[in-house]
């Protein structure tokens, strides 16, 4: 059974190779079939594995020794357990839906780019699978960087556009900053423990001092910041909207950004042992949740809103991790995967229909043109806003409850963020689907519902968004109904022993749940009513609105504080230090010799008298030097 695990990444890899090498000879249908089919095949295998794990528990399969030195051995090994099998399902499941969707969405591309696109997608899934399947931190890191690469390739997919390329580069570089943290953590672990395999690391955790653990977890978290777009390394994610919309869906839902969550959940034991880091994680998550939400309030690009909402939702997940609600975080990953994929694919459907118009101010009233898209989108909005019984409600609630138990302040701020989420999601929904159409005549003429390859995934995801939450029904409603928690229990076993989940009084929980639901509902009503009659105006925003619209000027800040000084420093090095400084020094040695040569030449005056004079003087000096025992000085002092 365990050998089956090889197949999971193998299929996407094959897909990548076939599509990549045959992108010129294969037909579009063949390409999309191969692309989707491989992921689907992985999904099927994942399902098998999932049920295997469910009944038999996890296992590790070693492929070969990747690095085997005298100091340590890093096997190329895959670990299938509860956590990874769950992620496998999310990745391959949603992945295959997105592939299917893409088959239609990218239809306009030339065949070879079409092939390239599917190859990248497959590679993306492959990398993510490696990340999740890896049985040690190094293999995880391989996937970790791999998804970074794929995001780079896909964000810059339309490489003729230089803005997109910049966005792609930004994504990669920001990820690399985080990756450095991850890498250092791996070194630290290797240095202290001599192994990077999860099992051995967690078993040897007692050998680590608390400083080591804090440092390792902090460094790992820096890695997570990059990959999962947390403050301060989040700015790449909104820019990543440059890629094709299904890619955004893939990045935001199934792959990439969830990597950070996965990694911390995987390392939960370490984090539980590092309270300082936990606090850091929680605060960072919370801050990101709020901060991104405020920005999302004023964004007008349909994808940008979604992007910031992802950042914000990821913040919640980190909050969950920070307060020790690992299951809650993973749960939210799952539900978020459903509705965020749905939202993006829905947005893609809209964009597709609007001929690549992404400004929601120029949309409106699409409800009647695109019913399926509309309905599914609405469901997703409800899910993300946290309206019961949609999936988002359960997961978000679980996190917030845990946050309350840890520190009520977390909870209140968290709820504030949830309110904003509700507001901006329904602002988006309203501006897009309700009201009047605000686009051009021509656009209106062409607006249409998308083909089946696109709507079928929407429908499937909508169903999942609606019912997905039921795997994690709180204890409150039914005893032992939280099947996810039970399923994942072995993973978080160690942490659970160390820090038992505090339980709130049922009354309080009900009150919190009810209160927040009502507040959210009010907020939705407010948003819908406010933007229902929205008309396109020329006036620009001022004050806080403008700051929000400009995303708190964070990019500008980064430019001013990091990018520009670094560039200036580089220029200084290149033009001043290198040229005049170091090379100047080297060259001046040569010049000195040349100068000396010209001067020494003059000594050769051509006059015999001078020559002999110098000879005589030299003789005198020689004698003086030779008899430096003051004999001569003594004599001279006698004379004079």
């Amino acid at each position: 059974m365990s050998k089956l695990v090889y197949l999971v990444p193998l299929f996407p890899l094959l897909g990548f190779l076939i599509n990549g090498l045959g992108r010129k000879s294969l037909s579009k249908t063949a390409i999309s079939t191969i692309g989707t089919g491989t992921i689907l095949a992985s999904f099927v295998v994942s399902l098998v594995l999932f049920f295997d794990v469910k009944s038999n528990g996890g296992s590790v399969a070693v492929l070969f020794d990747f690095i085997n030195t005298d100091s340590f051995t890093i096997p190329f090994a895959f670990q299938v357990d509860q956590l990874s099998s769950l992620f496998l399902l999310i990745i391959t499941g949603i992945g295959s839906l997105i592939h299917l969707y893409s088959a239609a969405y990218m239809q306009e591309e030339e065949p070879q780019h079409y092939g390239r696109y599917f190859a990248y997608l497959n590679l993306f899934v492959f990398s993510m699978l490696l990340l999740v399947l890896g049985a040690n931190y190094v293999i995880m890191f391989i996937g970790w960087e791999g998804v970074g690469l794929c995001s780079y390739l896909l964000i810059g997919f339309w490489f003729k556009n230089n803005d997109y390329n910049y966005a792609a580069k930004k994504a990669f570089v920001m990820n690399r900053i985080g990756d450095l943290g991850f890498l250092l953590a791996v070194f630290w672990i290797l240095y202290k423990l001599g192994t990077a395999t999860y099992g051995d690391v967690f078993a040897g955790v007692s050998k680590l001092s608390s400083f080591d653990i804090t440092a390792i977890t902090t460094l790992l978290f820096i890695g997570a910041m990059g990959k999962s777009a947390q403050i301060p390394l989040y700015t790449w994610l909104p820019d990543a909207m440059a890629g094709p919309t299904p890619v955004s869906a893939l990045i935001h839902a199934a792959t990439m950004v969830t990597a950070g969550i996965y990694m911390i959940a995987r390392s939960n034991l370490l984090y539980t042992l590092a309270p300082y880091t936990q606090t850091l994680v929680a605060i960072t998550g919370l801050a990101t949740a709020i901060f991104a939400a405020t920005i999302a309030l004023k964004q007008n690009d349909i994808k940008k809103v979604l992007a910031y909402s992802t950042v914000s939702q990821l913040g919640y997940m980190f909050l969950g991790l920070g307060v020790g609600a690992y299951t809650g975080a993973v749960f939210h990953v799952m539900t978020h995967a459903f509705f965020k994929a749905l939202l993006f694919l829905g947005a893609g459907s809209v964009i597709h229909a609007m001929h690549h118009e992404q400004d929601i101010r120029k949309m409106g009233g699409l409800k009647k043109y695109m019913p399926i898209t509309h309905i599914t989108f609405l469901l997703a909005c409800l899910a993300i806003a946290g309206i019961p019984p949609f999936s988002g409600f359960f997961s978000k609630d679980e996190i917030l409850t845990a946050a309350f138990a840890k520190n009520p302040v977390y909870y209140y701020i968290g709820v504030g963020g949830a309110l904003m989420t509700a507001f901006y999601m329904f602002r988006l929904y309203t501006l897009t689907f309700l009201g009047n159409f605000r686009g051009t005549q021509e656009q209106e003429h062409h607006v249409h519902e998308s083909p089946w390859q696109m709507t079928v995934p929407l429908i499937i995801l909508a169903v999942l968004s609606v019912v997905g939450g039921f795997v994690g029904i709180p204890e409150l409603f039914a005893k032992d109904a939280h099947s996810l928690e039970h399923f994942l229990a072995p993973i978080f076993e160690g942490s659970a022993k160390l820090a038992a989940q505090p339980h709130l009084a049922p009354a309080q929980e009900y009150a919190m749940m009810g209160g927040s639901t009502i507040a959210i509902a009010l907020m939705i009503w407010f948003a819908v009513s406010r933007y229902r009659k929205y008309q396109l105006t020329e006036q620009t925003d001022t004050g806080l609105s403008k700051v929000l619209e400009q995303k708190w000027y964070v990019d500008e800040l980064y430019n001013a504080v990091f990018v520009n000084p670094l560039n200036a420093l580089a220029g200084f090095f290149k033009n001043i230090v290198e040229k005049s400084g170091i090379d100047g020094l080297v060259n001046s040695v040569g010049k000195l010799v040349g100068y000396g040569s010209r001067q020494l030449r003059l000594l050769q005056s051509g006059q015999v008298g001078n020559y002999i004079l110098i000879m005589v003087l030299a003789m005198v000096v020689f004698i003086l030097v030779w008899f430096n025992d003051s004999t001569i000085m003594h004599f001279f002092s006698k004379i004079f």
Binding site: R601, Q604, S605, G606, Q607, V608, G609, I612, L613, V616
Partner: protein, 111 residues
């Protein structure tokens, strides 16, 4: 006669020769000053010869002590004669070409 006296005398003559070489421009005079230096050396050698002879009186070396220096002086004179013939020939050749024996005039070759 204390040997120092001879040494002082010869060194003085020798230095006068050097000063002559340094201060005169006429190649012939310069050359003559060199001859003066050689003569100073000759005198010194003879003086030393007699000194060593004096020291060796009554020792087995008596028969030969000091002899070599005088022979050396003889050879110096021989060499000086040969040098003079060549030197004057060169000076004459120079004079033929430039109508001058001024050594400051010799500065085509420099730097």
């Amino acid at each position: 006669m204390p040997i120092q006296y001879y040494i002082y005398l010869c060194l003085t003559l020798f230095s006068i020769g050097i000063i002559g070489v340094l201060t005169r421009r006429n190649a012939i005079i310069v050359f003559m000053c060199v001859e003066l230096m050689l003569n100073a050396v000759n005198l010194l050698l003879v003086a030393f010869s007699k000194m060593h002879y004096g020291l060796a009186i009554g020792t087995p070396q008596e028969a030969t002590a000091g002899l070599d220096a005088q022979i050396f002086v003889f050879f110096i004179m021989v060499v000086a004669a040969a040098e003079v013939s060549v030197g004057l020939a060169i000076i004459v050749m120079m004079y033929r070409n430039t109508h001058s024996v001024d050594i400051n005039f010799l500065n085509r070759l420099k730097n």
